[in-house]
């Protein structure tokens, strides 16, 4: 038995299934949460009719998306067109493997954890580019062009702000970074706070959400890069976006907000069952707190113009994150 199925393989498959299930559940919950928060900000109840207070709305929407035919435009590059949604959906899920939900709840504690996540997150740009290019539609292509320009620009301050923490801890390993925040969280130090702010702004830009949602600007580009997608093709882009939100918030929680550590006396570093439950709850509470802020931000600010977007990145975020990195490096050497 163990010759045919090595225990490590079984463990990998089981944990991957759990991670995928978690990503799907997360997307289903977040779609509803997003629509509810959006509704209440606009002083209406949001989805209300399907199930009590509209709780089953996402299930019904999912059935609708799955039942729809996935059309491929006549001039489209069919292979790439079909590959793009998968390309946007798989990397964020794969990146969840190194996220430490609790001390004992992490699929793989890679020693290059942060790098692993960032390299997988960069595939998202490729997915959008492929989707926009293969659709043979000018709106899709414009959306893709914008996405590439935006994500390439915003990846720099994002990396620099994460690098601040990495040189502070001296390790790319996620568990080391969490362990370094046992006493204080990096977001509550001056340098850490600036890095956190820069990271959070870039994270919103990386997930292509308002106010940086230019790649899918409805009012200008119909739906941007996913204009031509119907049914589950669109559904996978949607899942990818919400999984990306989860990932961005999970990284922020791990690197800046103490990971699975609770505040002061409410924390536990144990490895038992209940300790794991408490740690997971703390982690998820912080992650979903950040996600709610992202949703709140989306329904508050108007979309930025393209020149404002790039100016903001090159003139403000990059200089500040560079200066922050330099200050941190000097302070660590002192």
């Amino acid at each position: 038995m163990t010759d045919v199925f090595p225990p490590d393989l079984i463990r990998l498959i089981v944990s991957f299934v759990i991670v995928v299930a978690f990503a799907f559940t997360n997307a289903a919950v977040l779609v509803l949460v997003e629509r509810k928060i959006c509704g209440h900000i606009q002083r209406r109840p949001g989805p209300f009719e399907v199930g009590p207070h509209g709780l089953l709305q996402t299930a019904v929407d999912g059935v609708k998306l799955m039942a729809k035919q996935m059309l491929v435009p006549r001039n489209a590059d069919a292979g790439l067109f079909r590959a793009a949604p998968i390309l946007s959906f798989v990397p964020p899920i794969a990146a969840l493997i190194v996220v430490p939900f609790a001390r004992m709840l992490q699929v793989r504690d890679l020693d290059i954890g942060v790098l692993f996540i960032l390299s997988l997150a960069a595939v998202n740009v490729l997915a959008i580019l492929v989707a926009g290019w293969s659709s043979a539609n000018k709106y899709s292509l414009f959306g893709a062009i914008r996405a590439v320009a935006q994500n390439v620009a915003y990846e720099i301050p994002l990396l620099l702000s994460l690098l601040t923490i990495v040189i502070w801890v001296g390790s790319f390993r996620m568990s080391d970074i969490v362990a370094a925040q046992g006493g204080f969280w990096f977001a509550f130090t001056p340098m850490g706070f600036v890095a956190f702010l820069v990271y959070f702004i870039c994270g919103i830009a990386e997930t292509n959400r308002a106010p940086f949602d230019l790649p899918e600007a409805e009012s200008e580009l119909t739906a941007g890069f996913h204009t031509e997608y119907a049914g589950m093709g669109f559904g996978l882009f949607f899942l990818g976006e919400y999984t990306n939100m989860l990932l961005v918030s999970a990284i922020a929680t791990t690197l800046f907000l103490g990971g699975w550590n609770g505040p002061a006396f409410l924390t536990t570093a144990g490895t038992g069952f209940w300790a794991t439950v408490i740690q997971t709850l703390w982690f998820l509470a912080k992650v979903y707190g950040l996600i709610v802020v992202m949703i709140w931000v989306r329904w508050t600010y108007p979309r930025v113009r393209f020149d404002q977007l790039l100016n903001f990145c090159w003139k403000i975020l990059i200089p500040i994150s560079m200066a922050n990195l330099a200050v941190t490096a000097v302070w660590l050497k002192l």
């Binding site: 209440h40 002083r43 209406r44 709140w296 329904w299």
Partner: protein
């Protein structure tokens, strides 16, 4: 350099103010109506189709069958019929039909009525699967509305008179020369 940082801080502050505004709205109660389950009361001067005015105490109508409304209607959508019961001095209403498919809601009938016997209803949830659904029998509607008000409807209850023998002496004022219903 100072300007650069001041712009950043002022920008950041304005963003926080924006978040505060939407945050306050998010926690405030909603202001929408769950439409098919509850409905808004429409403004009193809303013009729905016409209805006969009910006297909420006696359950009587005010119509004197003068035919002014039928004559005033530019689209010919009103059909009024009345009769004079024996011994009575005034004619009473027996039938009031409205073809709402043709009505343009001009209100000439309401203005023409000398006794203010017709009014605009506040019905706005009107839907039907056939145009015949919009040929209203306002007398029937009058009876329904009386029952919801809790009074006995006293309108067009002249069946004993109508079924009397000597039909040639019966004075049925059928001036509506159109077919009453579709």
């Amino acid at each position: 350099m100072i300007r650069y940082f001041r712009e950043i801080f002022e920008g950041l502050w304005s963003l926080l103010v924006g978040l505060k505004v939407t945050g306050r709205f998010a926690l405030a109660p909603t202001v929408t109506t769950h439409y098919p389950f509850d409905e808004l009361e429409v403004t009193p001067n809303y013009r729905g189709h016409i209805d006969l005015v009910v006297n909420p105490k006696t359950g009587k109508d005010k119509c004197i069958v003068c035919m002014m409304c039928q004559r005033a209607c530019p689209s010919g959508c009103i059909t009024v019929k009345g009769q004079k019961p024996e011994g009575a001095k005034k004619r009473v209403l027996t039938e009031y039909r409205l073809d709402f498919t043709k009505c343009s809601l001009c209100g000439n009938c309401v203005e023409a009525c000398p006794t203010s016997a017709i009014e605009f209803s506040h019905e706005y949830n009107i839907a039907g699967t056939s145009r015949h659904d919009f040929h209203y029998d306002l007398v029937e509607r009058f009876r329904d509305r009386c029952r919801t008000l809790g009074v006995e409807p006293k309108i067009a209850d002249l069946t004993p008179v109508a079924t009397k023998p000597k039909p040639e002496r019966e004075k049925t004022e059928s001036q509506g020369d159109r077919k009453p219903d579709g």
